[in-house]
């Protein structure tokens, strides 16, 4: 029976089906809460549990999808390059903001993990949770983190950031759209950016830039200090 599921075609097609459903659900309900990635993960975890399909069988196809993560990360360079003009014009606020954001995010996660007495592996999984998933996964695994926990924490943070963004902008009285966009990108990566785009063109572009820059800064900090 298990051989049925062990074909790579099973893992790939079930992933595509679940993701397609997640995208449909989001466009129907128009809510940030139904993130298509989250929907797809929950559906597949449910399916595997109910039918008692081993994760290893699903991962025959999963591993192939996983291989595309590195090329997708590399292509973030294209999105940075397309905003090179706006980067040159605002390089100082971008550099300062992204550095402050990355340091604060990593530092505050570390301190709170200590406070809640989480173990080393859990701490390493959470430290990169504010940056984009592909880079967060790399930082987490190279420091002994649990990759799936990182993925969940990153998605959760992104959804949270996109919900809180308008409220945070008002609460901290951020009037400048460059600052607003960068802050959203620094704390909630691509999911937050989708919200920043709705707030305005500058907000969207700045938030998009912050994704790549904060990712690079976080990698550098993790190499130097962890």
């Amino acid at each position: 029976m298990n051989e049925l599921w062990a074909s790579p075609f099973f893992g790939i097609s079930v992933s595509i089906l679940a993701f397609w459903f997640g995208v449909k659900l989001q466009s129907r309900l128009r809510s940030v809460l139904c993130n298509p990635l989250l929907t797809a993960i929950l559906l597949i975890v449910g399916l595997l549990s109910i039918l008692k399909i081993p994760y290893e069988s699903y991962n025959q196809g999963g591993a192939i999808i996983n291989m595309f993560l590195a090329p997708a990360t590399a292509c973030l360079a294209v999105s940075i390059y397309s905003k090179i003009q706006i980067l040159k014009e605002n390089w100082l606020p971008i550099a300062v903001g992204c550095t402050a954001g990355s340091v604060t995010s990593m530092g505050s996660v570390y301190l709170l993990c200590r406070l809640f007495q989480l173990d080393e592996a859990m701490t390493a999984s959470l430290i990169p949770k504010s940056i984009t998933t592909p880079i967060a996964v790399e930082v987490s695994s190279s420091h002994g983190g649990i990759v799936p926990v990182t993925v969940i924490a990153v998605i959760f943070t992104g959804i949270l950031g996109s919900i809180l963004a308008p409220f945070l902008i008002r609460f901290f009285r951020v009037t400048d759209s460059v600052a607003a966009g960068l802050s959203i990108g620094a704390c909630s990566h691509a999911v937050g950016t989708s919200r920043a785009i709705q707030l305005g063109e500058t907000e969207g572009a700045m938030s998009g830039l912050a994704i790549g820059i904060c990712g690079i800064i976080t990698v550098l900090i993790s190499i130097l200090f962890l």
Binding site: A72, C75, Y81, T133, A186
Partner: protein, 123 residues
Amino acid sequence: MKIIKQIGIIFGICWLGTVAEQLLPFAFPASVTAMLLLLVCLLTGILKTEHIQEKSDFLLANMAFFFIPAGVNVINYLDILKQSWLPLAAICTITTVITFAATAFSIRLTMRLLHKTGGTKNE
């Protein structure tokens, strides 16, 4: 052939990233090296956006999809999540707000200093 060529360029750069990961004395993620390499190629004009446009649009637009297997792997860690979902949620929430505030305030300070120096180009 066009798409095959684009896949070749991007996968080739990713492979160079893994080569660099082996050679470097510290753990620099291969995919981030590949990203920096690609950025350098674009900035220096070795590559033009047209050379990789379709493939990179495809990868960027479907980025979330490629994370499904990594996320589904959580099935092997449900015990840990059940045990510590509350601190996890609390940490994510608190640090997201703090990170937003730190970024916003540091930028506000930078801009204020920039205006004070009145256009002079020093930091």
